[in-house]
Symmetry: C2
Subunit: 156 residues, 2 copies
């Protein structure tokens, strides 16, 4: 049986995201998993996800770090509460603040790997820090302040 | 005659970006213009650019701020050098660091407007600060440290 990703546990209302929602047929379908205390996301850019020829467009890198981090925030919060992923009440985090430092041009002909950890879990907030690698090289770093989705984002 | 956007002045090698390249047929075709000392970008999200139902996905907001800011960086550098847009040598900036603060959920059924200014121009670096509005409300703020494209990103 295939292992479920963090995003597979999202409720339907929470799975509409262009970045990571499994119910968004146009989307990127970003998927995140635990690997010990780190979370990991792997993604192969399409040839048209270009910045300049041969390199990945920064908006895609920001999107990957964003969605992978909110997924990691939810997964880390379930763990911190001693609950199974997807148990009720279901958790869904959104981004309050995103920072990406682009350290070097990211080659497009590679599987990208993002490794992240929850640096802080406090109340409704989780801070997630990430490193993005391509061909074994660190190409970008991310920091996301994630918060539980506010009530006005949740469909009634 | 239609007014040219900042991105229309990019050389072909610089116009391949998924976010703002006019030569990328799959891309978002983000366009930026001067409005006095501010630059402005307007963009209508597609219905599938969702975060949760009714709201814009944060990765799109990051992408808009990213590409609009690198465009603004180039335009501001031409101005600072007293040169016409697109004059030789052509300028192209890329993002060294991107920060987006998501202040409130951004409605998807609206034209988004990003207004930006170059806060600092120094050597090969331009810092661009942005505000993103939807339906007249400030929904996000951005800060981009843009640098001239490094030689290893420019096709020979």
């Amino acid at each position: 049986m295939e292992k479920l990703s963090f995003q597979d546990y999202y409720a339907e209302w929470a799975g509409q995201c262009y970045g990571c929602g499994k119910y968004n047929e146009h989307g990127l379908h970003i998927k995140s998993y635990w690997d010990g205390d780190e979370s990991v996301c792997r993604f192969c850019p399409k040839p048209y996800h270009t910045a300049m020829k041969g390199f990945v467009y920064g908006g895609l890198i920001a999107s990957l770090i964003d969605c992978h981090s909110t997924g990691t925030a939810a997964a880390a919060a379930y763990r911190a509460q001693g609950r199974d992923m997807g148990s009720e009440p279901k958790l869904r985090y959104v981004t309050a603040s995103l920072t990406v430092d682009y350290l070097k041009p990211t080659p497009i002909d590679a599987e990208l790997e993002i490794r992240s950890r929850a640096e802080e879990i406090k109340g409704r907030k989780v801070i997630v820090v990430s490193e993005l690698f391509a061909k074994g090289e660190l190409c970008a770093k991310g920091r996301v302040v994630a918060v539980e989705a506010p009530k006005n984002m949740i469909p009634k």
